[in-house]
Structure formats: structure tokens, C-alpha cells
């Protein structure tokens, strides 16, 4: 441990590790602080991602790939199934995040970043108005550590940004509140992601079954906090399991939140940048946040490293624009689409499913499916086919 670091990253999930790695690549000193005792555990994620989203940062490795995905199955409220197959370059994975996150952290450490687990950051140090380090608890002791730049990768709960005066709390209506189990004896196709829509499954959200090989699958759902007011995610999950898989042994049970909204107005301030879920860099339509979080973090890490090297800390503030140019603006489009879909009635989902099934299976591309869906909702005619790509 050094007395002072150029950059401290709070959180060692995929975003934290990528921020640390891309900063360390610039030859500056970087320390990651992780509150839990392990990197990668507990997992709070459905674990699905596109191959392209992974390979921008790490070579694919069967160590952490539990399923190769080449089909989506969308299930309408009346249980009409719309099956969609895609070609190999659009392949997706279901990950073993416990291992994946660990391997990502290793790539950060291999570029020279350091890491300290069981370290709970509970405040910031300031130099005038500029963030100048962190206060943290480690092994029961309260300590302080100075840094020129702090990168907050502290996830959905994100408090670090708030302490720096950034507005990070998320409207409860935009929080997708999720529960998920990993269950055995689930006989689904091992290469298909299943998405269920409608009032019964997951109003203002979706229900998923993501296979993990050997008839094991992640089964879960997210509903908006607006729905949670009346019925919790857990109740929806219990109803589903009783109806479809009453005998399935349950291996793990987790809860989690997905900030399903556009990126925060400001994701940098003097001495601090926010990345990943903390910055709300989640694709608000799919709820996928691993790839987009890593992209945001890699930009922030690189810019932070450059700022230190140039001895020009203001350079950090260019991160907002760089993120918006790369993905932020696209997320704004996705968010508008999400808001449209939130308002679909069960009947509308059913009608859309029936019309899509009239397209012959071999001609069903994601673009064509969405075009068909959009005829029923013309105000949403936008570049929707790119939705699940990142």
C-alpha cells in the first residue's frame, strides 16, 4: 500500500475493474477498494451479455461461459411464443459472474492496479471543492487515503457520487427491482434466452429464464418500484415457480436493483467520475449493464489516467461528453422505447406476438420483428433493432 494514489476506484465489479485497468495502462498508480470479501460475489445479475460486449475487454473463455446463446424466445401474456434465431456474430453468453468478475479484476491487477477487499468506503476527502481521497473502514479501523482522482464504481446503491454533490439517487419508478433464483431441473433449450411479458409475469418489466447448462437456469424478474408498491418482485417469482416449476430445487436466491433510466445528468466533477451502475450506464430497455458499464468505465479510466499524466485534472470533465457520444445518447433512445413498452397492455403484447409469428421463422430477424411490433405503436419508430446489441 502506498501513502497516496493517483486514482482510487471504489468497487471492483466489471466497471470498477475496467476503470482501474484503463487508468493503470496510462502508467499511473491505481488502487481498487471493494467492500465485500470477494471480488465477484455475491452476484446480483441475470448474467446474460452479448459476445461482442465481452470481447471488447477480454477474450472469451469457457471458464466463465455457462451457455452460448443463439435464440431469443419472447413469450406474450397469452403464452404465444415468438422464437428468434440469430447468426454467430450476434452470439450471446450466459456468464458465471463469480468467475468472470474475478478474471476481469485480474486483468486490472496485471496492468499494475492494486486491490484491497473488505474495505468499506464511507466518506470522501476534499481539498476545497475538489474530491481528494476517501475515508474507509478496513478490519474495524477507520482510515483515510488521498488520491488525485476518485472513480466511483459503487453500483446501484451508489453513495460516493452523492457525497461529492452529484445527484445520484434514482427515482423509484425507474428502479427495476429484481429477484432471481438459480434452479435445477429446468428443461429449457440450453441456447435460448426466454423473456416473458405482461401483467401476470412482470408488469413494467420482464421475466426471464436464462439457461446455465445442465438444466440449471437463472429465473427471475424485474418490476418497477411503481409496481413494487402493490406487489413485490418476490411474489411474482413465487407465483411463477408454483405454476411452472413447483418441484425445482433452488440453488441460490438473490435480490438486486437495476437502474433502468438514462445516464445521470453529470457523471464527473472535480476529482471524481462515476462509472457503471453508479452512473446509471445501464441499457434502460434490456436492463443489461455489464457491457455498457465496462465501456463507460474504460472511457473514464483512460481519461483519468491521461488527466494525471498531463497534470491537468480538468481533463477528467471531458468524460461526460465522451460517454454520451459513445453510448449515452443511444440509451436516451432506448429509454423512450422502454417507456412506450411499459404502457403496452397484455392485449397489445398478444396482438404483436401473433403478427410476428406470421413472419416465417427463417425470415424473422430482430429488425423485422421490431418493425412488426412498431406498426402497432408508430410513435416508437426508431432504430430499435440495435437494442439488444449492447
Amino acid at each position: 500500500m502506498k501513502e497516496e494514489y493517483d486514482i482510487i476506484v471504489v468497487g471492483a465489479g466489471p466497471a470498477g475493474s475496467m476503470a482501474a485497468r484503463f487508468a493503470a495502462e496510462k502508467g499511473v498508480s491505481v488502487l481498487m477498494l471493494e467492500k465485500d470479501r470477494d471480488v465477484g460475489y455475491p452476484v446480483r445479475c441475470g448474467e446474460a451479455i452479448s459476445k461482442a460486449g465481452v470481447e471488447e475487454f477480454i477474450d472469451s473463455n469457457e471458464l466463465w461461459i455457462k451457455a452460448h446463446i443463439n435464440k431469443f424466445s419472447f413469450i406474450a401474456p397469452d403464452e404465444t411464443e415468438v422464437l428468434l434465431q440469430f447468426d454467430s456474430e450476434q452470439e450471446g453468453y450466459v456468464l458465471e459472474r463469480r468467475i468472470f468478475d474475478y478474471e476481469l479484476a485480474k486483468t486490472a491487477v496485471n496492468t499494475g492496479a492494486q486491490i484491497l477487499t473488505r474495505t468499506y468506503v464511507n466518506g470522501l476527502l476534499f481539498d476545497d471543492d475538489k474530491v481528494a481521497g476517501v475515508k474507509y473502514e478496513h478490519n474495524g479501523e477507520q482510515k483515510e487515503l488521498k488520491a488525485k482522482i476518485v472513480i466511483a464504481a459503487d453500483g446501484v446503491e451508489s453513495r460516493v457520487g452523492r457525497w461529492a454533490g452529484l445527484k445520484t439517487h434514482i427515482d423509484f419508478r425507474d428502479m427495476e427491482c429484481c429477484t432471481q433464483i438459480t434452479a435445477a431441473n429446468i428443461n429449457v433449450d440450453p441456447n435460448t434466452l426466454y423473456f416473458y411479458f405482461g401483467e401476470e409475469f412482470a408488469p413494467e418489466g420482464y421475466f426471464w429464464i436464462f439457461p446455465k447448462g445442465d438444466n440449471i437456469a437463472n429465473i427471475g424478474l424485474g418490476v418497477s418500484g411503481m409496481i413494487g408498491k402493490k406487489k413485490s418482485a418476490q411474489s411474482f417469482l413465487n407465483s411463477f415457480m408454483e405454476k411452472y416449476y413447483p418441484q425445482a430445487p433452488i440453488l441460490t436466491t438473490i435480490a438486486g436493483g437495476v437502474p433502468s433510466a438514462v445516464t445521470l445528468d453529470k457523471i464527473s466533477a472535480p476529482g471524481i467520475a462515476l462509472v457503471g451502475d453508479a452512473a446509471r450506464q445501464v441499457n434502460p430497455l434490456s436492463g443489461g449493464g455489464i457491457a455498457s458499464g465496462m465501456i463507460g468505465a474504460s472511457i473514464a479510466g483512460r481519461i483519468a489516467g491521461e488527466a494525471i499524466k498531463m497534470n491537468k485534472l480538468d481533463h477528467l470533465l471531458t468524460y461526460d461528453k465522451a460517454w454520451h457520444d459513445r453510448l449515452g445518447r443511444r440509451h436516451e433512445t432506448f429509454n423512450r422505447i422502454k417507456e412506450g413498452i411499459f404502457n403496452f397492455s397484455d392485449e397489445k403484447f398478444n396482438i404483436i406476438a401473433h403478427s410476428i409469428n406470421k413472419i416465417p421463422f427463417e425470415k424473422r430477424t430482430l429488425g423485422r420483428v421490431f418493425r412488426t411490433a412498431l406498426i402497432k405503436q408508430p410513435s416508437l419508430i426508431i432504430d430499435i433493432a440495435k437494442v439488444f446489441v449492447i
Binding site: 468499506y120 446501484v156 434514482i170 423509484f172 418500484g225 411503481m226 413494487g228 436493483g257
Partner: protein, 74 residues
């Protein structure tokens, strides 16, 4: 009876730590930064809470409760 204090008087929000999964939904939606969450420890910072209930609505597993009588001091 001695109640814990909230910003508006009596604290009415209660988290059941034994049932909590420490997922952070409630912390993410709290407008007052009134919830402290460590690895496997969670509590409400009494003097910041306004009893707004957003944490209750966003809890996926129903471990946050509203007690209109107030939460008794521990």
C-alpha cells in the same frame, strides 16, 4: 415508549436485517442518503429519514416495513 427520531419526528421505517439480502435497491432510491449498507449490515440513519416509503416500494423481497406507530428505539 421511546421512538427513534426521523427528520420529521418519529421514525416509521423498519428494515428487517435478518431477512435482508443487502442488494442496495433501497439505498439507490433513498432521496435522503439515509440508509447505510455494508457487506452484510444495513440500518437507517434516523435523523435523515423522512418516512417517504420509497425504500419499501423498491424492496424486491419485502424486508422493509412501514410501522405507523413508529419504530421503537433499540
Amino acid at each position: 415508549m421511546e421512538y427513534r427520531q426521523a427528520k420529521t419526528g418519529v421514525l416509521m421505517i423498519e428494515i428487517l436485517p435478518d431477512k435482508c439480502d443487502f442488494c442496495g435497491c433501497c439505498v439507490g432510491v433513498c432521496p435522503e442518503d439515509a440508509i447505510e449498507l455494508k457487506e452484510a449490515e444495513i440500518f437507517i440513519i434516523d435523523e435523515r429519514c423522512t418516512n417517504c416509503s420509497k425504500c419499501i416500494w423498491s424492496c424486491p423481497i419485502e424486508v422493509i416495513m412501514f410501522n405507523k406507530e413508529g419504530v421503537v428505539a433499540k
